[in-house]
């Protein structure tokens, strides 16, 4: 079932292939596609970041449930971990802004 889902997701993504057939804009070849790819990159980064943060929160909650006395250090480690993972998605956001400018 999982393989079928991945296969059908891949086929759906290939549905967008007519975009490569468009004639280049007057400015040159690749400049038209910078922005859509930046948006896609942002989506991928946010999705993976969400997965990572979900795992962090899950193990933190489990640790706090097993050992309520150690809740404060676990919470500190959780906040630090969440912020570091968050910053990875934010790097991609900055790249999106750079792609908008150039």
């Amino acid at each position: 079932m999982k393989r079928k889902l991945i296969y059908s997701a891949g086929m759906l993504m290939l549905l967008g292939s007519p975009i490569f057939a468009q004639t280049p804009a007057a400015g040159g070849g690749g400049t038209d596609l910078k922005l859509p790819f930046a948006y896609l990159a942002m989506g991928i980064a946010s999705g993976l970041c969400g997965l990572g943060q979900g795992k962090a929160v899950a193990s933190a909650a489990e640790g706090m449930a097993r050992n309520p006395g150690a809740a404060a250090p676990i919470r500190a480690a959780l906040i630090l971990g969440l912020v570091l993972i968050e910053s990875l998605a934010l790097y991609t956001l900055v790249i999106t802004f750079v792609a908008r400018q150039a």
């Binding site: 906040i79 630090l80 910053s87 934010l90 790097y91 900055v94 908008r100």
Partner: protein, 246 residues
């Protein structure tokens, strides 16, 4: 990123103090793009924040008392305890030597992050220059502290890693990771603050006038969190630099 409009503090500074800043910038070799408006939003609000912090701490100093601490003093004692507790967790020996730097960084960044929420003012941390300055300061500080604590030879030798025959591998890795630290500090703080404002504005264009306030609330929380994380990472870097291997 795009040209920001002037806020009232910048307009005030440009009206009365444009001349001195132009002279200074020309002397330093970076003439302003628009000589009639050399002051920019971030520097004027930063000066405002410095004045605000000075007023707050001068008030605090004048009301210090051992027998009858007021609520103001208790609040700042709580803040100090929090910072020094966090520092002694990250740094093994003599953490209180470094607490003034961490406290200053924390209070300054916190005030700068929060002042953007007041309508009519803009967070200086929304421009990339300001977090970069803080990150450069933290970078220089922790290397200076490491050199001072361990001596130049021993400190530079620890970049080579635990064993001498891995030094050819460890040295580039350590150098890259040390230079990635100010980069990540800058971008983390800048992107959080900038994105917070952008998200609020975007939702203002999409929906009614109260719903974007939820995002502003999130921005307040993120402002506190980012200031704390900046300080915490600075502590971790200093702790790593001054740690004595046993």
């Amino acid at each position: 990123m795009q040209a920001e409009s002037e806020i009232w503090t910048t307009a005030l500074f440009n009206r009365f103090l444009a001349g001195p800043l132009d002279t200074f910038l020309n002397a330093v070799g970076h003439p302003a793009a628009d000589p009639a408006h050399p002051w920019q939003n971030w520097i004027t609000v930063e000066i405002l924040v410095v004045a605000l912090i000075l007023v707050v701490f001068a008030l605090l100093r004048s009301k210090l008392s051992v027998e009858h601490p007021g609520n103001f003093q208790l609040a700042f004692e709580g803040i100090y305890k929090f910072i020094s507790g966090q520092a002694s967790e990250s740094i093994d020996h003599h953490a209180d030597r470094y607490v003034p730097f961490f406290g200053s960084v924390f209070i300054f960044i916190l005030f700068m992050n929060l002042i953007g929420i007041i309508p009519g003012l803009e967070s200086p941390t929304m421009t990339p220059a300001v977090p970069l300055a803080f990150a450069a300061a933290v970078f220089l500080y922790y290397h200076w502290m490491g050199l001072r604590e361990q001596g130049a030879g021993k400190y530079l030798a620890h970049f080579a890693g635990p064993v001498w025959w891995l030094a050819w591998l460890m040295l580039p890795i350590e150098l890259i990771s040390h230079f990635a630290r100010p980069l990540s500090l800058t971008i983390r703080l800048y992107a959080n603050m900038f994105a917070g404002e952008r998200v609020t504005i975007t939702f203002l264009t999409l929906t009614y006038f109260l719903l974007p306030a939820v995002f502003m609330g999130l921005h307040v929380f993120v402002a506190f969190l980012q200031a704390f994380i900046f300080m915490l990472l600075a502590m971790i870097y200093v702790g790593g630099a001054v740690a004595h291997e046993h």
